[in-house]
């Protein structure tokens, strides 16, 4: 229960302080938002000064950054990637598309609402959000982690049935074995 505010022990406070300042981001560049990530990471906005750094594989990553619309096909991959990540892990929904479908709200093949399928900790609105907004989003996530209430992964585990039901409703050919921790 390390992410429950009322029961935060001293160890958890230290751990959360470390986690907060060391966010390794797996940027799942699905849509047009992928182009904003380099801008955020490089010289102009330099996310690394906040401890935000790119990670190469889900095993090493803390934050799953979903940058844009998700088709049914990519949603499946995103879920797979999310479940391969190790605890503690956070999800940032990036751009309008992840919030309510954005300009693809009536597409036959993109989901409209990411938080039905994955536990989103922070949404960054905008189409596209500028790097300032992205940094603001990371700041918000850091704040939540520091308070110990960024407990999306916890929610996901507890309400796994709910998420699985939603996921399977959209993904017809559900072919990977049910993953547990």
């Amino acid at each position: 229960m390390y992410n429950d505010k009322n029961k935060q022990k001293i160890v958890d406070i230290i751990k959360n302080a470390a986690r907060k300042h060391s966010l390794w981001v797996l940027a799942y560049g699905t849509g047009c938002g992928a182009i904003e990530v380099p801008a955020t990471m490089t010289s102009r906005y330099d996310a690394e000064r906040l401890g935000v750094r790119g990670a190469a594989t889900p095993r090493q990553a803390d934050v799953l950054l979903i940058t844009g619309y998700l088709t049914v096909k990519t949603l499946k991959r995103v879920i797979r990637v999310y479940e391969q990540m190790q605890d503690p892990k956070y999800v940032i929904g990036f751009g309008s598309c992840t919030i309510n479908g954005g300009m693809y709200f009536d597409s036959y093949n993109t989901i409209n609402q990411l938080d039905l399928y994955l536990p989103v900790d922070v949404y960054i609105s905008g189409c596209m959000p500028r790097p300032e907004a992205v940094l603001e989003g990371f700041g918000k996530l850091q704040e939540l982690i520091g308070k110990g209430i960024a407990n999306g992964a916890q929610q996901y585990k507890e309400n796994l049935d709910f998420y699985r039901e939603n996921q399977k409703k959209v993904i017809k050919n559900w072919d990977f074995q049910d993953y547990n921790w």
Partner: protein
């Protein structure tokens, strides 16, 4: 009994020192790279935060026994080689096992790490890991040759293969081997560029191409052990070169200054260099560095 206890205490202290120095240097490198790229950059203690965070991450899955033992092999390589290197010239503080092994032994124990990492990476079954490992081992064959030639030149010139022996000669005569045999120093420095695996030679764990190569399936504690082993190993390499070529260090401050100056060579070389392909880096090491090694041996034998 008491001496044993002191030995163990000394070994642990050496390890902690190496860990701290290596981690700080890594952090400073990130800062320097950031400044060169016109960024603000992370604080110099960022690596400590990263390491602690990695340690506190959970390890929910594994791919079998070698997946666990691979990082342990790497740690064996760095810690044992640390134990055999004199940290300071007056050996009262960190005696460890300095007199028990010599340079040839050290060369061999230092290549144990990559092999252990290769085994750990192999068991995960990730094809990227295996590709990275093959690149890493190939590159290792590349830079080991000039490195060994430089060391042979030293050994031949001063008729000893012991690290403490070479260090004592420098301390007593007051001449650094860096100036006594500059060719050996150049060869060793150029080879050490490859050992650090910084920019031109970082194809082993190219993050975007190979998904960080051998590390791609390791998160959490595995990565923590690899990271700390890398830091300790960086300290080992720097201290070894300081001991062999720059007359060692009589106290920690001098050690830190010398190692930091030395560390700046691969860092600054790396910042401004693009990435070499594997065969390019092998041919790089078999070009000028090998030539310098050859000259160094000739110089050692005839002058």
């Amino acid at each position: 009994m008491e001496s044993l206890l002191m030995n163990i205490l000394g070994a642990v202290t050496t390890f902690l020192l190496a860990f701290a120095v290596g981690m700080t240097y890594g952090g400073l490198r990130r800062k320097i790279v950031a400044r060169v790229q016109n960024r603000y950059g992370p604080p110099f203690y960022q690596n400590f935060i990263d390491a602690f965070k990695l340690y506190s991450k959970s390890t929910a899955i594994h791919h079998g026994a070698m997946h666990f033992l691979g990082p342990a092999f790497i740690m064996v390589s760095s810690v044992v080689s640390l134990m055999f290197i004199p940290v300071l010239t007056n050996n009262q503080w960190f005696p460890n096992l300095n007199f028990q092994g010599d340079l040839i032994f050290l060369i061999y124990i230092m290549v144990f790490g990559p092999l252990g990492m290769a085994l750990g990476a192999g068991q995960t079954g990730n094809p990227n890991s295996a590709i990275g490992v093959t690149r890493g081992l190939s590159q290792m064959v590349g830079f080991e040759i000039p490195w060994v030639m430089a060391l042979i030149a030293l050994m031949v010139q001063y008729k000893t293969t012991s690290i403490t022996g070479l260090l004592d000669i420098q301390v007593q005569s007051g001449h650094w081997f860096m100036f006594e045999n500059p060719f050996a120093f150049s060869a060793a420095i150029l080879a050490s560029l490859g050992m650090f695996r910084y920019s031109p030679f970082d194809i082993v764990g190219a993050p975007t191409e190979l998904a960080s190569g051998p590390m791609s399936e390791n998160g959490g504690k595995f990565l923590f052990v690899m990271m700390s082993s890398g830091s300790v190993f960086a300290f080992v390499k720097l201290t070894l070169i300081v001991d062999l070529f720059m007359g060692g260090a009589s106290n920690l401050i001098i050690l830190v200054i010398k190692t930091f100056l030395l560390y700046m060579i691969p860092v600054t070389y790396g910042i401004v260099s693009p990435r070499y392909r594997t065969e390019q880096s092998i041919t790089y090491f078999w070009g000028w560095p090998l030539f310098f090694g050859l000259i160094a041996i000739i110089y050692a034998v005839f002058f």
